[in-house]
């Protein structure tokens, strides 16, 4: 058998990204455990996510990557019977501290879901929703400007600019997902969490979303959960591998895919299980 490195580079076209720039830590997780009732879904996870980079979470179904993602903006709070132990801080502030403002947190940490979930409103109102409820704009023209900007950033403006008043549900699947990204971008978050944003999309729509992610990391810290290892290899700077609720390995994407430290990681990315 050839060396694992050779096999892996042949399998994955990992773009050579060179040395990663030094960046300040945006999200720091220490000793995080998570329970659904009695079932423990995450075990003692510690991880640091630097700002303005893309970190991908990979791992087989049920390994806890989505659960972990959702602890970062406290979306799991809405599920009854869940419990968190450990510490998650964003910009040095503990988001689970007593008295921490969840609404403020979610404004800062936007989220894009696996299944696109546009509101049954017009395209314009979908993007404007977050701006309106958070009162981020003071005039109608400013609101319109922000909506246009968000749609532009999500690479959707040219496709919808003539039908902003029509229903968001009339868009194609890929457009709906980009609309949800625009909706998240409109309130100018600092972090964007993406839960398998392209899992239900065709290859063309997927590549649009991936290009978008690469563009967005200029301004945002992005965490993306994906099933698709090739996708992680294409878009991310850092990759974390999860298995059965444990964080097995986290490193520069190029490293993880070409020279993984852990045997389990190597077995997973070479397709021995999962």
């Amino acid at each position: 058998m050839s060396t694992p490195t050779a096999t892996l580079t042949a399998r994955f076209a990992v773009p050579h990204k060179g040395a990663l720039p030094e960046r300040a830590t945006k999200i720091a997780v220490a000793g995080l455990s998570f329970y659904y009732g009695r079932a423990q879904a995450l075990q003692n996870i510690s991880l640091e996510i630097p700002e303005r980079m893309v970190m991908a979470f990979i791992g087989p179904s049920g390994c806890g990557k989505t659960t972990f993602l959702r602890t970062l903006n406290r979306m799991n709070d809405v599920i009854p019977g869940t419990r968190v132990e450990g510490n998650v801080s964003i910009d040095g502030r503990d988001i689970y501290a007593a008295g921490a403002d969840v609404v403020e947190l979610r404004r800062k940490v936007g989220m894009v879901f696996q299944k696109s979930n546009p509101f049954p409103k017009s395209i314009f109102d979908n993007v404007a929703y977050g701006l309106k409820i958070n009162r981020l704009t003071s005039s109608k023209s400013e609101l319109e400007g922000r909506v246009e900007e968000a749609l532009n950033d999500a690479a959707l403006w040219s496709e919808v600019k003539d039908r902003l008043k029509s229903s968001a549900l009339g868009l194609s699947g890929g457009q709906q997902q980009r609309l949800c990204i625009a909706r998240a971008l409109a309130i100018r978050p600092e972090v964007i969490l993406m839960d398998e944003p392209a899992s239900a999309l065709d290859p063309i729509a997927t590549s649009k979303i991936e290009e978008l992610i690469v563009d967005l990391k200029e301004q945002y810290t992005i965490v993306i959960v994906t099933h698709n290892m090739q996708q992680a290899a294409r878009v991310s700077d850092l990759t974390a591998f999860f298995l059965l609720g444990k964080l097995i390995e986290v490193n520069a994407t190029e490293k993880v895919f070409t020279a993984p430290v852990e045997k389990l990681t190597e077995d997973y990315i070479t397709g021995r299980f999962g």
Partner: protein, 247 residues
Amino acid sequence: MIILSYIAMRGISALSLRFLIDTPHPVGEGGGIGNAIVGSALLLLLSCVVGLPLGISTGVFLSEFGGGHFASVVRFLVDTLTGIPSIVTGVFVYAIVVLRMSHFSAFAGGIALALIMIPIVARTTEEMIKLVPHSLREGALALGAPQWRVTMGVVIPAAASGIATGAMLAIARVSGETAPLLFTSFGSRFFPRNLNEPIASLTVQIYNYAISPYDEWHAQAWAATLVLMTLILSINLVVRFLTRKKF
């Protein structure tokens, strides 16, 4: 369909413009149901004013905050209320409102109808809101919306046409009620002047005419039935039109 066409057949002969606008006259002198149409409309309006907000808010409460002990008590009460025969509701309102005020009134009738509407509206609202996908709520929450804004701004609009259908069902149901009106709004032979006095209604009028021994009144009862059916049908159509899916 058979019922509809039979009613149309029997009712059409006594129908005329005069019949629709005149007040009842003694046997042999014609007369109409104008006051009953106005009375029924007012009673429905009263019951909607009281019943819809209460019913819808109960339904929203049950679906959005329905996890607790209090909510399951409320749900049980609502279910029980659905099963109460309408005549019992009538007697109840008679005891609580009519005896207190010591006279029949449109208000009492409206309250009786509202009591019948509330559980229907509450349960359909609850079911319709439960049908709103969880992902929509999460989408709104993830944008920093507090729970109440999610409910008001996303969930209720998404369920609006379903809630309206539930309200329609309730309106259709109570507009055919006779029993609770017999001892609350009672009936009247004149156009209503204020809501604090007995008021005529189509159903009570139909009942009175149908049990009378006169062929002329029987024919008028059929015609009034036809009018009632047409009114219910047109309310249905109007609300359908107003709440048609825009998005």
